[in-house]
């Protein structure tokens, strides 16, 4: 990218210069230390500790009201924390006004200036930085090429489609090469197809430009597709964080398991722990489960997680399996999902690959769904509400 190498130099001539006043914290781009945000009595965020490495793509995922936007706005400086510390690029930014944080933000509804053309919109942050006219023209043209929108430079935002507007708002951000870009559900207003296209585009930009990105979404698929790391939020706290694989295959709580992917959760009580295997007694039978990292004792309640795709319909007997009647089967293109109703009323979901000429089980058949022991995962019981 010619645009990339060219923009590296003037970034240092930026009026928003970065002066380290805190001991450089390794290579963290953003560091939150015990950040709490209260609105009156209500705690929107509770003692959040979070570190984002330079160049990382981190997604904040969580249900509505879990505090994602609040966290993002705290980093952007649009709201101030009630307590705790925010360090951006090694500099304490806790009380710093927004316009001195030197970051970029992409808004859900684009927030393009309606009275400016596309060109002027993208030129705006460069004018703020006092760049020469010719320099501005070159950079804006380069970035317009990058997002393939050179032909609409003279239009007003309202004359663009939603996807085009979103690309312009992205361009307006990357044109001044901020070290950190925050995005709050930037694709929320787009249809599915356009969304997937934009996801890939954002990923490509991230890979090419090496900008640290903090991305908010409540769409788990989006989070799984795009992130180096997912931070799962729940009620103002971080429920779990880790690479997408870890969150999917090694959820640590029932909340994580339910929020990401679909899951079969069978509650029970630990009967015995021996040789790295836990025996769980449930309403559907006794099942061996690999012992988790945390210590477990006999007699305590626990929940068994088995992902639907790890279940198979089989006739062969084994230590792990449940029997039920197929209530419904739905076709999802490449896969089929069976909903089994077990004797005690629990519903178990089994997901199989769909193949041409699949013989398949039928509705109302009574079948056995089994899983290999190592695919089971023992979770602590959800906190009582």
């Amino acid at each position: 990218m010619t645009f990339l190498s060219a923009s590296a130099a003037p970034a240092s001539a930026n009026p928003v210069s970065v002066v380290p006043t805190v001991a450089p914290a390794a290579s963290a781009m953003v560091e939150l230390r015990a950040v709490t945000k209260r609105y009156g009595q209500f705690e929107a965020l509770h003692r959040i500790d979070l570190s984002i490495a330079k160049g990382e793509f981190v997604t904040l995922l969580g249900p509505s009201g879990s505090g994602k936007t609040t966290l993002l706005n705290l980093i952007a400086g649009m709201i101030m924390p009630s307590s705790g510390q925010i360090v951006i690029d090694g500099r304490d930014a806790t009380g710093l006004p927004t316009n001195q944080r030197g970051l970029g933000m992409v808004f859900q509804n684009y927030a393009l200036m309606p009275h400016m053309t596309v060109f002027e919109n993208i030129a705006f942050p460069l004018q703020v930085r006092g760049l020469a006219r010719s320099e501005i023209k070159r950079k804006v043209t380069d970035v317009l090429d990058l997002i393939q929108l050179g032909h609409v430079a003279g239009r007003r935002p309202r004359e663009l489609s939603g996807g085009q507007q979103q690309r312009v708002s992205l361009a307006r951000c990357i044109v001044y090469n901020p070290a950190l870009i925050l995005m709050d559900e930037p694709l929320g207003a787009l249809d599915k197809k356009l969304r997937e296209q934009m996801q890939l585009e954002i990923k490509r930009l991230h890979a090419e430009l090496g900008i640290t990105m903090l991305y908010v979404t409540h769409d788990q698929d989006e989070a799984l597709t795009m992130s180096d790391r997912i931070v799962l939020m729940n009620g103002g706290r971080i429920e779990q964080e880790g690479p997408p694989d870890t969150l999917y295959f090694k959820p640590e709580t029932v909340f994580s398991a339910e929020f990401i992917g679909s899951s079969n959760l069978i509650p029970g009580e630990v009967e015995a722990v021996e040789n790295g295997t836990v025996t769980l007694r449930t309403a559907l039978g006794r099942f061996p489960v690999p012992a988790p990292d945390r210590p477990v004792r006999a007699g305590e309640p626990a929940v068994l997680l088995v992902r639907p795709e790890n279940m198979v319909l089989t006739d062969r007997p084994g230590p792990t399996g449940v029997t039920g009647r197929i209530e419904d089967s739905i076709l999802l293109g490449g896969v089929v999902r069976h909903f089994l109703r077990c004797a005690d009323g629990t519903t178990v979901i089994v997901q199989e690959l769909n193949q041409p000429g699949r013989a398949g089980a039928r509705r109302d058949d009574t079948v056995r769904a089994a899983w290999s022991v190592e695919h089971g995962r023992l979770l602590p019981p959800p906190p009582a509400r």
Binding site: P15, V16, A76, G77, M78, P97, T98, N99, Q100, R101, G102, L103, G104, M105, F107, N109, A111, M113, P114, H115, F124, P125, V128, R129, R172, Y176, L182
Partner: protein, 300 residues
């Protein structure tokens, strides 16, 4: 407009109470019946005298535009017209300069506070212009509060003539014009998406740049509407220049009064009134083309 013909026709418009019992119909007739009283009233007190005025300006024994020709060469009329435009533009600009910051402040308040503050803005708006004029004399007159204070502070050295001159007219005028300006700009400011300001901030823009590049341009519809309303209102001012101005501050409406009552030159009075109406009409037409600047309701 000529106030004498107004009072004349008021009595003749009264018998229009004839259709008051006919509101029960649901067909197309009901609309006609419901609108009839007001339509008749407007015909009687507005269109008829207006037509009469235009007619008078064009007819002196025969149809001619002589009255207009005379106006075009009359030094008195041209001087008064220049006065009027100067005063209207000055008043409007002063009102803009004072009104914009107030609107900006109001827009930044939480809704409850804003409502309370708006009542204060509207207070002079609800007060009779006559009462306000005398109140202004009490404050700004030669023996007024302000001059007494200045005299006290300077040991009798300073006495600023602020009434019965140009300053007095503009003071009286902005008192009347400000609510229109403020409401009009406030409408635009409230319609402005706050996230645009936040976006500009994240891009590093300071408060001043955000004002010049984002807030001001986006509030322009309100500013233009406010300016047009103000000019329209001030160009037809009658009481304020009569009460608070000096001899040099005669405005077009006062000239109409002068022609009708002092020189009894009805064609000249009518032609002057028609010119004033045409200018106002033009401004109102321009106002109609400015959309999006939340306009307050009917003007005085």
């Amino acid at each position: 407009m000529t106030s004498s013909s107004l009072s004349l026709d008021h009595s003749s418009a009264h018998p229009s109470a004839q259709s008051s019992g006919a509101t029960s119909g649901l067909g197309p007739w009901s609309a006609i019946l419901l609108l009839a009283p007001l339509t008749l009233l407007m015909l009687g007190i507005l269109l008829y005298p207006l037509g009469l005025t235009v007619w008078t300006s064009l007819y002196d024994g025969q149809l001619s535009v002589r009255a207009y020709g005379e106006l075009a060469t009359s030094t008195l009329f041209l001087k008064v017209l220049r006065n009027t435009i100067e005063i209207a533009v000055t008043g409007t600009l002063v009102s803009l300069v004072f009104g914009y910051p107030v609107a900006l402040h109001l827009a930044a308040q939480p809704p409850r506070r804003r409502t309370a503050c708006l009542i204060m803005v509207m207070l002079p708006f609800w007060t009779s212009i006559l009462v306000k004029s005398f109140a202004l004399v009490a404050v700004f007159g030669n023996q007024g509060l302000l001059n007494q204070l200045l005299g006290y502070l300077s040991g009798g050295q300073v006495n600023l003539p602020m009434m019965f001159n140009r300053v007095g007219v503009v003071l009286g005028m902005i008192n009347f014009l400000l609510p229109f300006m403020i409401l009009s700009i406030l409408g635009s400011l409230l319609a402005l998406d706050r996230r645009l300001v936040l976006a500009a901030e994240t891009m590093g823009a300071g408060a001043l740049r955000i004002f010049w590049k984002v807030i001001l341009p986006l509030s322009m519809p309100g500013v233009v509407a406010g300016v047009l309303i103000n000019v329209t209102l001030s160009i037809g001012m009658y009481i304020t220049p009569a009460l608070l101005g000096g001899r040099q501050d005669m405005m077009v409406a006062n000239l109409v009064d002068f022609y009708t009552r002092q020189t009894l030159d009805w064609p000249a009075a009518s032609a002057t009134a028609v010119v004033l109406l045409a200018i106002s009409g033009l401004l109102v037409a321009m106002l109609g083309r400015v959309r999006g600047g939340g306009l307050p309701g009917g003007a005085a």
